[in-house]
């Protein structure tokens, strides 16, 4: 490269005040290869850009270095200007003379010297820049949504309504997620089922949505626009096509006493079951661990121990021999909406830093329950038909105590973040309790009330003022059984007094935690997660629903604790991103990716080991007669994101990362 133009920007006074831009431009003029070096007040302005374009045309420049602000600010601007003048945009580079020089130094002399040095780096580097062409890859315009809670449902419906096919994968037998377990929703107190169920039905009936319930993502290959997803369809032991959802099998199942997951152990289900009456799809599944048929078989009993469900099934849908099966789908984008799990109180935690809350006796004292169990008690379709009754003796609790922040905001033994929804749902519980129990007394122990949101603080005030919940600011140290009541020992930090309350029931507002198996899913998708297991967005403010793997988007509580409105908003945002991606048949990508020098490559595949994206493929090099000479690495252009870890790892430096090649870095270092 020999005809380089250097353009030094004053940025008004921003650079010019501390850097002698005239001296910089003069100095660079003398560098071999530079044919043109000028300074100007505002390079990014129209006249400034015109100067660059004019110089490219008139002086046949084959490289442009703009000494101005951060490339994060204006690299695109200047590359576009260069392209407009007929220069390949990747032959234009920026030296950061503002953020990295004039703004952080006072000594004009030394700042100018440094500015010259920074510009020199770029001049030397650009001598080795190559013209690059944007990469275009075709897009498979179908989407995969993982998780059928409210976020997944919303994302699937939005994409499907946008005219694109969606595959919705849900690991449970029915979609609906946690929202289907809730009684009413804050701050409007509309019934959760009433607003959710129609959406679930819509999913089932939408011509663009293929629902794969009781299924899990097994593996994900490929890259944006071109993912191949293998999905495991777990064996239901029921033929989905034959089953008509009549429910006879459940009625006749002899094992009626299994604590139901949907009712959080407060209600019973059968061994063949649909999780709840409004389930979508309304097809039962056999719990093989509890079913007498399978238990007998596992014990080696030759004759079938039970087969009641198969006997009563009209359409003969029961299939005891059903096996897991696999389907592979081609999709162009993936929305992850896998939701959350509740903090398991008093139980051994999988992480050593979390210790649980043995002092609250959850699991030992039957009338200590968690928030989701309270939801089931309060739900009209729940085990008590919506009556608040104690699990121990079925009596109505006249005094109920709610403890907030169980697990949340507790660095000593829980997790430090705020779970965000608990303040609101505890207020809701207090209001529901007030509606349902005459002369009941609700007491809430809280640390702070966090009720930011439309109508949220008003809602908490309503719990206090209209439902007469007594809010005490403080922690509870321990719960004791005292006859058939529970003695709550705590402290009211506002009065400074210790408090002891005889309660009939205690509800723990437990933290929202990331799903337990998130690491394996994140690995399959090559996306990252924080130390709590919540999936990382690409940028906390500006790219909240994207991930660092192009084509993978996030919705709902898998990214951080979220309530329903937030989850739905996020899901619609993710759907908009997917539809935006699908609006083009071809996808354009920056060409700053790795390429392998296949002559020098030895095929040791260290690059393959370190590549975070699985972008390295193996390719056979053959001679004229078709014999394999050697197997070398090849970079999949669609998958490579351009981190360059392969290049630094390659012992013989047979990989080059475009835009940051060894020659470019070497040249810059040599300019020291």
């Amino acid at each position: 490269m020999s005809r380089i133009g250097v353009f030094i920007c004053h940025c008004g006074e921003n650079i010019g005040r501390t850097v002698d831009c005239v001296r910089v431009a003069h100095n660079l003029e003398n560098v071999p290869g530079v044919v043109h070096s000028i300074d100007y007040k505002y390079m990014c302005s129209d006249p400034g850009q015109a100067l660059i374009k004019q110089a490219i045309r008139e002086l046949q420049l084959d490289g442009v270095v703009v000494g101005a602000c951060s490339p994060h600010m204006h690299e695109k601007t200047f590359r576009k200007a260069a392209a407009a003048a007929g220069l390949n945009p990747y032959l234009c580079e920026m030296a950061n003379l503002r953020e990295h020089c004039s703004w952080i130094h006072e000594d004009r002399e030394r700042a100018t010297d440094k500015a010259i040095g920074l510009a020199r780096f770029m001049v030397e580097k650009i001598k080795y820049n190559r013209p690059l062409a944007t990469i275009r890859i075709p897009v498979e315009r179908r989407a995969l949504v993982i998780g059928g809670g409210i976020a997944g449902i919303q994302a699937a419906l939005d994409i499907a309504d946008g005219g694109r096919e969606v595959i919705l994968v849900e690991k449970e037998p029915s979609i609906g997620g946690h929202m289907s377990q809730l009684s009413e929703t804050f701050p409007t107190l509309d019934c959760s089922q009433c607003i959710l169920t129609p959406r679930m039905v819509e999913v089932a009936q939408h011509p663009n949505i293929q629902l794969l319930a009781y299924s899990e993502v097994e593996s994900v290959e490929g890259y944006i626009g071109n993912f191949q997803v293998k999905i495991r369809r777990k064996a239901r032991s029921v033929d989905e096509i034959k089953c008509n959802g009549c429910g006879e099998c459940q009625k006749n199942c002899p094992n009626q006493k299994i604590p139901g997951e949907f009712d959080r152990g407060l209600g019973m289900r059968t061994a063949i079951y649909v999780p709840f009456p409004q389930a979508v799809p309304n097809i039962p599944v056999i719990d093989r661990a509890k079913c007498a048929f399978y238990r007998g078989k596992a014990k080696g009993v030759k004759k079938a121990v039970c087969g009641k469900c198969a006997e009563v099934c009209g359409p003969k849908a029961i299939d005891f021999d059903q096996q897991d099966s696999f389907v592979t789908e081609e999709v162009g984008a993936i929305v992850v909406a896998t939701g959350y799990q509740l903090y398991s109180i008093g139980k051994a935690q999988e992480s050593e830093t979390l210790r649980g809350y043995g002092e609250y006796g959850y699991g030992a004292i039957p009338d200590v329950i968690d928030g989701l169990q309270f939801e089931r008690l309060a739900s009209a379709s729940g085990p008590t038909g919506g009556k608040i009754l104690r699990p121990s003796d079925g009596k109505e609790p006249k005094t109920i105590v709610f403890l907030q922040c169980i697990g949340s905001r507790d660095r000593a033994k829980g997790i430090e973040y705020c779970s965000k929804i608990c303040c609101m749902y505890v207020a809701k519980h207090a209001i529901l309790y007030h509606h349902k129990v005459d002369h009941g007394r609700a007491i809430v122990f809280y640390l702070d009330i966090r009720a930011g949101g439309k109508g949220y603080d008003e809602f908490v005030r309503r719990a206090i003022e209209e439902s007469h919940a007594l809010y005490l600011r403080g922690r509870v140290s321990r719960l004791f059984r005292n006859g058939d009541t529970i003695c709550v020992h705590g402290v009211d930090t506002l009065s400074g007094e210790p408090v002891a309350i005889d309660a009939d029931m205690v509800v723990l507002a437990t933290a929202m935690r990331a799903q337990p198996d998130i690491a394996s899913l994140a690995q399959k998708l090559s996306i990252s997660y924080d130390r709590h297991g919540f999936l990382n967005e690409a940028h906390p403010k500006l790219r909240p629903v994207e991930t660092n793997t192009a084509g993978v988007y996030l919705a709902g509580a898998c990214q951080s604790p979220r309530d329903i409105p937030d989850s739905v908003a996020m899901a619609s945002a993710a759907a908009a991103k997917v539809l935006g991606l699908f609006s083009n048949e071809l996808l354009e990508r920056e060409p700053l990716i790795a390429r392998v020098d296949q002559l020098a490559c030895t095929g040791c595949f260290h690059c393959e080991r370190v590549c975070p994206y699985g972008a390295i493929e193996r390719k056979q090099l053959k001679d004229g007669k078709g014999r394999v000479i050697k197997i070398v690495a090849e970079v999949n252009q669609g998958v490579c994101q351009g981190c360059g870890t392969c290049q630094a790892t390659c012992p013989s430096k047979s990989v080059e990362l475009e835009g940051f090649t060894d020659e470019q870095v070497y040249a810059a270092v040599n300019a020291l």
Binding site: G346, R355, G356, Y357, G358, E359, R478, F480
Partner: protein, 298 residues
């Protein structure tokens, strides 16, 4: 197995039966206890209540003695002694100012790698052995395991059991054949060192513990701390008399229970030394009479 042994003051005084039973159990399980030469009082509650430095220096000196004796594991049966030794070690490891202060006092800097274990740690590691060597399993006995304040807390010092829902003692009691009961007061305070200065408080606190154990159906309480033992055992007569709470509840050291299950002689285990006679308990598992003439008054 060879272990450094720190008896502490109580085991040579008010809690002689704790030491007697420990030594008998240790011998039966082939554990060699080597007493630390010239050990000093751990400082108990008084030292660190008056001076934090003294509260660290006293146990640090004992750690130094143990180190000189090449002991890399120290067994401190008394929960309070254990707590003081472990806390001192924690301070030496994490508080540089304190560590340098102690260095200048002792003219020595104790290593912080010596491991300090309490009776729960020792015996729960031996649970398999206890079960295997059990000659008289305590089937049918219901025991309330009492951890008190100091055995598993604070968590950053003790680090071996859940500080709010511990189960190590229950684990050991299960190994003896007895059944640990689920109860609420396993971690509550008995009144500790206020036994003499604020007796009324001690009586109130200890009574709540006994009541809770009784209502959970326990036949006896198992403890790991001489101070707790003295409050629950010695004060029980007064408590029961004043409140008519019910039958007396024998308070046994954990090592005594283990000893009984190993078939050791109740007298050798010091069972005759308690104020509340464990005789009803022995009757329940079909053991002989404690010899009344050998009963000594403390």
């Amino acid at each position: 197995m060879r272990l450094g042994y720190f008896p502490g003051c109580s085991l040579h005084g008010t809690a002689r039966e704790y030491e007697e039973s420990l030594k008998a159990v240790a011998a039966a399980l082939h554990i060699e206890l080597e007493e630390i030469r010239d050990w000093a009082c751990c400082g108990a509650t008084s030292a660190h209540a008056t001076s934090r430095t003294l509260g660290v220096a006293l146990p640090a000196r004992t750690l130094m003695q143990a180190e000189k004796q090449n002991l890399d594991r120290i067994f401190a049966p008394c929960a309070a002694c254990y707590n003081r030794l472990a806390s001192a070690q924690h301070a030496l490891a994490h508080d540089a100012t304190m560590a340098s202060q102690i260095r200048s006092i002792l003219d020595y800097s104790p290593k912080t790698s010596v491991s300090i274990i309490n009776i729960a740690q020792l015996l729960s590691a031996q649970a398999g052995e206890i079960q295997k060597n059990s000659k008289a399993p305590l089937n049918g006995l219901k025991i309330a395991c009492y951890y008190g304040c100091l055995l598993v807390r604070p968590p950053e010092v003790c680090k071996f059991d859940d500080p709010e829902a511990p189960n190590s003692l229950d684990h050991i009691v299960s190994a003896t054949g007895a059944a640990p009961v689920a109860w609420d007061m396993a971690l509550e305070c008995c009144g500790g060192g206020f036994s003499l200065s604020r007796t009324a408080s001690v009586v109130r606190l200890s009574r709540a513990i006994l009541k809770s154990a009784r209502s959970a159906g326990a036949h006896a309480l198992a403890v790991a701390c001489p101070m707790c033992h003295s409050n629950l055992d010695f004060r029980q007569q007064a408590i029961n008399k004043r409140n008519r709470d019910g039958e007396a509840m024998p308070i046994l050291f954990l090592s005594q229970l283990v000893g009984l299950s190993l078939g050791l002689d109740p007298i050798q285990l010091g069972l005759h030394r308690h104020f509340v006679s464990p005789q009803p308990l022995l009757d329940r598992i079909g053991m002989g009479k404690l010899q009344p003439e050998r009963r000594e008054q403390v």
